[in-house]
């Protein structure tokens, strides 16, 4: 039975052997069960025999009544040598960066008692400006993941780092000029990586650094090379664009670098004059849901539509070369014709203040055509920036590496990419080839498919545990400083491994980093001061890439466009990166697995998305299991019918169905990668679908997708709103008359906290949901509990479909506790566990709650969550990422949004200690801080000039379920659309 006395078994004088130096432990006891049994992350499966014995023993111990009220003896552990200016209980913030697809986004990590507990946006970083997407917020769980790989393994036998480095030294002292040496890395914009690869190739000219990325398949780069001559990246000016056409490009989803895009795009869309978004896509994405004019088309028809659009723009602008594109090939359908004409006239109307964006999935010719269109609409040139990804992404590089491996030409292979065996295309036998390499070293975050095939599996450090640098999309460099010493002694950062081959084994990455950036400091200023400022700010000034104005080679583009193949017939398979687990690397993250997909509200699973029309034709319904076959490979998967899906298109999200790796991701969903061939990375025709008996039970957090005509999430067109013709809004704004006397308690009130959620700004990216979960210690409950309707998110994003099933209009509505003035949950609580504060907060006191759950029944918004089981019983790692300023709730307690009351009270204490009142904007809730578009505003209604007060008076505001007389303190603002026919 665990010792009742010690609450925090941290490394202490004479304490039990701490789990940090597993190196020693790995040698002594061979094959002992890992420190944390698998499934420690998932919720308990009911009464385990051990739990019952534990309780029985505990019961007998307690039954002796003597001194049963004596609290267990608790230790207080001060520092022996304190770090400078450290005060217990006061958090510090460190600026670092989060790397996704090679680019960095600046983040600010809050560190309490030496351990990072929250990751939020870095206000001074150009990409994030304080906002942070769902992946940044959840990255903390990657650091504290109890299932991380722990032991260095050589052919499945635990060994020590010393033997690994001894092998690396032997391999580095080679004489064949690196012919047998290969590196398999992910393209990264990090200057240190670029210099390290250059040094390596300089020492071993024959060696090759092979890029591999399953999301960046080099199509955009090929398109840029075709149109602009060099692999450049076009930079859109979202603020200026009045008309935006997106050809299958989900630029609003924050995963793909959309933090800055969504902020600027929404800024350009505020009433009274809105920009207009035209989207053509195959599945319903965030951008599609947000579009004013949306067109459903199977992926292979998008090039055809792009051609039609170019022709129409050419006709309107009078450009003959473009106009001729309309010529041969199958013609467009009426809907497509209407959409193309509208888009073309809109683009031409705005000229340079318009933009055409193309998604990575489209062939290079379409990218080139977009550049040509943007140039034609503008001044003939395209604003772009050098591509800084080193090594440049190249789809064919992996297959050439596999040929080298099979031919036996490679004896040493260093893999720093994440689980390439799982992500490799299905016709590239990387797994088998790896076994032929004598010394293949894999930096393993988990013991996954790749670490099972390679000879050396080395536990790698998490990015928050090692020194690196990186660049944002616009080139701004950031020093990625570690937030905590490596949690595992045997963990090695990839840079240290590569150092063996660049002769820099002696100098740690920190030294190399400083050496590299020493040259960047202008002479008068000392390098140390600059370095400290860079680390504090989180950006290295003066590293933005210069903007280039590059003309477009029209003839080459038009030739390529004419060579585009015509669209296919029959069922088409369409691959997409999953909005939550991306390409599978976040599969081991319980917060992201449990984050409801913004469009389908699906958690812990992926599915085949099918349109309602196709589903009825193939007699499929939600949960039906099907078998997809493509060129001899087959996969079984469940079906999910999604309105707004293109007909005859089967969309399959990647990143699921991992067979090895962390228990959290093992066996969740099906592996779509098995059907993904090298030549058809994004869409493939000729897929055969056949029914398989059996039903699949999805864990959906929202099962009903229609609003039943109730005034819940309101949306109208800008014109109709300007004309004020829908009188319904007044009825939802005026507070309901009631019989109760004014609120009873305190006379003078200093603050009246309130919030406003602007549905017009909300794209549904769910960054706020994960931010709330990270700040308030909300547990992930596992698939089984979500299926039973017990997910614990305090903030949920309801997504409703309106209009007809095939062309739905979609609206996302973030909803949390709205802190009603006349709260229905308060008067039904028998123990006064939820009462109203003088400042308007509906307080939830966890230690007073006995769990009758009546408050949840009486809450009309159903935003209260209940701890049905003990969801917070994790190991020591589970305690480290918790926010110590928020109680961790036990079983049997109700919980809900508290307007981040720990931040309000923290600000109040700091203010009152300094003898002043809380300043405006000093308190920002976690969701407000994370939102890239500023849709959530929290503030003090007592101050008329506070943004939230203005929003409470904004004509677009309305109170949800106002007719019940609850008078909510959170107010929503309706979303305005800007459809084409309005403008006439």
């Amino acid at each position: 039975m665990p010792p009742l006395t010690d609450r925090y078994p941290l490394p202490v004088l004479g304490g039990p052997e701490p789990w940090r130096s597993l190196e020693a432990r790995a040698q002594e006891e061979e094959g002992t069960s890992p420190e944390f049994p698998p499934g420690a992350e998932a919720a308990p499966r009911g009464v385990s025999r051990r739990a019952l014995l534990e309780l029985a023993a505990f019961g007998t111990a307690v039954s002796g009544l003597a001194g049963c009220f004596r609290a267990p003896n608790e230790k207080v552990l001060p520092y022996s040598r304190p770090p400078p200016e450290f005060t217990p209980g006061v958090p510090h913030h460190y600026a670092t960066g989060f790397v996704l697809d090679g680019y960095v986004r600046g983040v600010l990590a809050r560190s309490q008692e030496g351990r990072p507990t929250l990751v939020s946006g870095n206000p001074s970083h150009p990409e994030s400006l304080g906002a942070a997407g769902a992946h940044e917020q959840a990255s903390l769980l990657g650091l504290y993941d109890p299932h991380r790989a722990r032991a260095v393994r050589h052919r499945d036998v635990p060994t020590s780092l010393a033997r690994l480095f001894e092998m690396l030294r032997r391999r580095a002292a080679r004489t064949d000029g690196g012919a047998g040496l290969r590196l398999l890395v992910e393209p990264s914009a990090s200057p240190l990586w670029a210099r390290t690869c250059a040094q390596l190739l300089e020492r071993f000219p024959e060696a090759r650094v092979v890029p591999f990325s399953s999301t960046d398949t080099g199509q955009a780069e090929a398109g840029a090379r075709l149109a602009l001559g060099r692999p450049l990246r076009a930079i859109p000016d979202w603020r200026a664009a009045r008309a935006v056409v997106s050809l299958d490009d989900d630029f609003l989803s924050t995963a793909v670098g959309g933090l800055r895009a969504s902020r600027e795009f929404i800024a350009a869309r505020m009433p009274p004059e809105l920009n207009r978004l035209w989207v053509v896509e195959s599945r319903l994405s965030l951008t599609g849901a947000f579009a004013d004019e949306r067109l459903r088309a199977r992926p292979s028809r998008v090039p055809l539509i792009a051609r039609g659009l170019a022709a129409e723009v050419g006709r309107v602008l009078g450009r003959e070369d473009l106009a001729t594109l309309a010529g041969s090939g199958p013609d467009l359908s009426t809907a497509e014709r209407r959409w193309v004409e509208g888009a073309a006239r809109n683009l031409a109307g705005h000229g340079a203040r318009s933009w055409v964006a193309v998604g990575e999935a489209q062939p290079p010719a379409v990218h080139a055509l977009a550049h040509l269109l943007n140039a034609a609409l503008g001044d003939g040139t395209v604003r772009c920036v050098e591509r800084v990804l080193v090594p440049p992404p190249d789809a064919g590089a992996l297959s050439s590496l596999v040929e080298d491996l099979q031919a036996g030409r490679v004896d040493t292979l260093l893999i720093t990419a994440w689980n390439p065996v799982f992500r490799a295309p299905t016709d590239v036998p990387l797994g088998a080839a790896l076994e032929r390499v004598e010394d293949a070293v894999y930096c393993a975050l988990h013991e996954d498919e790749t670490s099972a095939r390679v000879s050396w599996s080395v536990p790698t450090t998490h990015p928050y545990e090692s020194w690196e640098d990186g660049r944002a999309m616009d080139g701004t460099a950031t020093v990625l400083q570690p937030l905590i010493a490596p949690l595992l002694d045997s963990a090695v950062s990839p840079l240290e491994l590569v150092a063996a081959f660049t002769g820099a084994l002696a100098t740690p990455p920190y030294a190399r980093l400083r050496a590299q950036w020493r040259a960047h400091v202008p002479p008068p200023e000392s390098f140390e001061d600059a370095w400290e400022r860079w680390l504090a700010e989180g950006i290295i000034p003066g590293t933005r890439l210069p903007e280039l104005r590059v003309p477009v080679d029209a003839s080459a583009v038009l030739a390529a466009v004419r060579r585009l193949p015509s669209p296919d017939e029959g069922l088409e398979l369409h691959f997409v990166t999953d909005t939550k687990v991306h390409d599978g690397r976040f599969g081991a993250n319980p917060w992201l697995q449990e984050l409801p997909d913004p469009v389908t509200q699906l958690t812990w699973d992926n599915a085949v998305w099918v349109s309602p029309a196709t589903a009825s034709r193939l007699a499929l319904s939600r949960g039906a299991r099907v078998r997809l076959e493509l060129r001899g490979r087959a996969v079984e998967a469940p079906v999910l019918v999604v309105p707004g899906q293109a007909d005859d298109t089967l969309t399959v999200p990647l990143g699921y169905g991992q067979r090895l790796g962390s228990p959290v991701s093992r066996g969740v969903g099906f592996d779509a990668q098995a059907l993904r061939f090298q030549d058809a990375p994004w869409f493939a025709p000729g897929v055969r679908l056949s029914r398989v008996e059996g039903h699949h039970d999805f864990a959906l957090t929202q099962e009903h997708w229609r609003m039943e005509g109730r005034p819940v999430a309101l949306q109208t067109t800008a014109a109709r709103f300007a004309a004020r013709d829908d009188s319904g809004l007044e009825r939802l704004q005026a507070p309901q008359a009631h019989l109760y006397p004014p609120t009873p308690t305190h006379a003078e009130v200093r603050h009246r906290w309130g919030m406003a959620i602007d549905l017009h700004r909300c794209t549904g990216c769910s960054a706020c949901v994960v931010a709330c979960q990270a700040e308030n210690n909300i547990p992930a409950v596992g698939k089984d509990q979500v299926r039973r309707g017990r997910e614990m998110h305090w903030l949920r994003i309801d997504r409703y479909f309106q209009g007809d099933e095939h062309e739905p209009s979609v609206i996302t509505q973030p909803l949390m506790c709205v802190h009603c003035e006349y709260a229905p949950c308060e008067y039904v609580c028998p123990v006064a566990a939820t009462v109203h504060s003088d400042e308007g907060l509906n307080q939830m006191v966890y230690n007073r709650c006995v769990g009758t759950r009546y408050c949840s029944n009486n809450c009309p918004y159903k935003v209260r969550r209940f701890n049905y089981l003990e969801y917070n019983r994790g190991g020591p790692l589970d305690r480290m990422y918790r926010n110590p300023q928020v109680t961790v709730r036990s079983r049997g307690v109700m919980e809900k949004c508290t307007y981040c009351v720990q931040r309000i009270e923290g600000a109040r204490i700091t203010a009152r200690v300094e003898g002043r009142d809380i300043r405006q904007g000093e308190v920002r809730t976690a969701c407000q801080q994370a939102c890239p578009t500023g849709a959530i505003v929290f503030g003090d209604l007592e101050r008329p000039e506070d943004p939230v007060s203005q929003l409470h008076r904004d004509p677009r505001h309305y109170a949800l379920l106002n007719h019940l007389g609850t008078q909510p303190r959170t107010v929503h603002l309706i979303r305005l659309k800007n459809p084409w026919e309005d403008a006439g």
Binding site: Y740, P744, E826, C829, H836
Partner: protein, 175 residues
């Protein structure tokens, strides 16, 4: 040192006549033991009506007032909390518990009252030791005369036999 003389009869009517007769002969401290409540035996024995209803009323009112005061004090005085904007002293919400406590205290008072009034629980009463007296709860109708001196006891026994009592006993209560 109290003594009793008991006589068993076979029907409530015989019992009533015997009781009237004994009262006429001057025996006033009479009691009757019957298997079921006989209608007008109280009148014949001259027993005053039971004061239980008054006790019940007082207890009920006390319970109600007590409950209302507890609720008012805790919700409006000791720690006034703003619960859903409802008034601190929300009278209507206090009524259910007030009524329930009234019933609870009144019912407990009634039960305690019956116990005290009947002098129960007294399992060691001398009558219970007599085997014949067992018929008092089955089919016998017993008339009991409390006498001070043994002489009065013999007169009572004679009167009972003369009135047709099937069984006549006399019992002494040792201190």
């Amino acid at each position: 040192m109290s003594r009793w003389v008991l006589g068993e009869f076979h029907s409530p009517e015989q019992l009533l006549e015997a009781a009237r007769a004994l009262r006429a002969q001057g025996f006033h401290r009479l009691d009757a033991h019957t298997p079921f409540p006989v209608e007008d035996v109280d009148g014949v024995l001259g027993l005053p009506p039971s004061r239980l209803p008054l006790v019940a009323l007082l207890a009920g009112v006390g319970g109600a007032v007590g409950a209302y005061v507890v609720q008012w004090f805790t919700q409006a005085v000791d720690w006034p909390l703003n619960v859903g904007g409802r008034p601190l002293h929300s009278g209507p919400a206090f009524i259910p518990i007030t009524f329930e406590s009234a019933v609870l205290s009144s019912a407990s008072a009634i039960f305690m009252g019956v116990m005290v009034a009947c002098g129960l629980p007294r399992v060691t009463h001398p009558f219970l030791r007599m085997e014949a007296f067992r018929s008092a709860s089955i089919d016998g109708f017993w008339l009991v005369v409390a006498v001070e001196a043994p002489q009065r006891g013999f007169e009572a026994e004679a009167a009972l036999r003369e009135l047709g009592a099937a069984v006549v006993l006399s019992v002494e209560d040792r201190p």
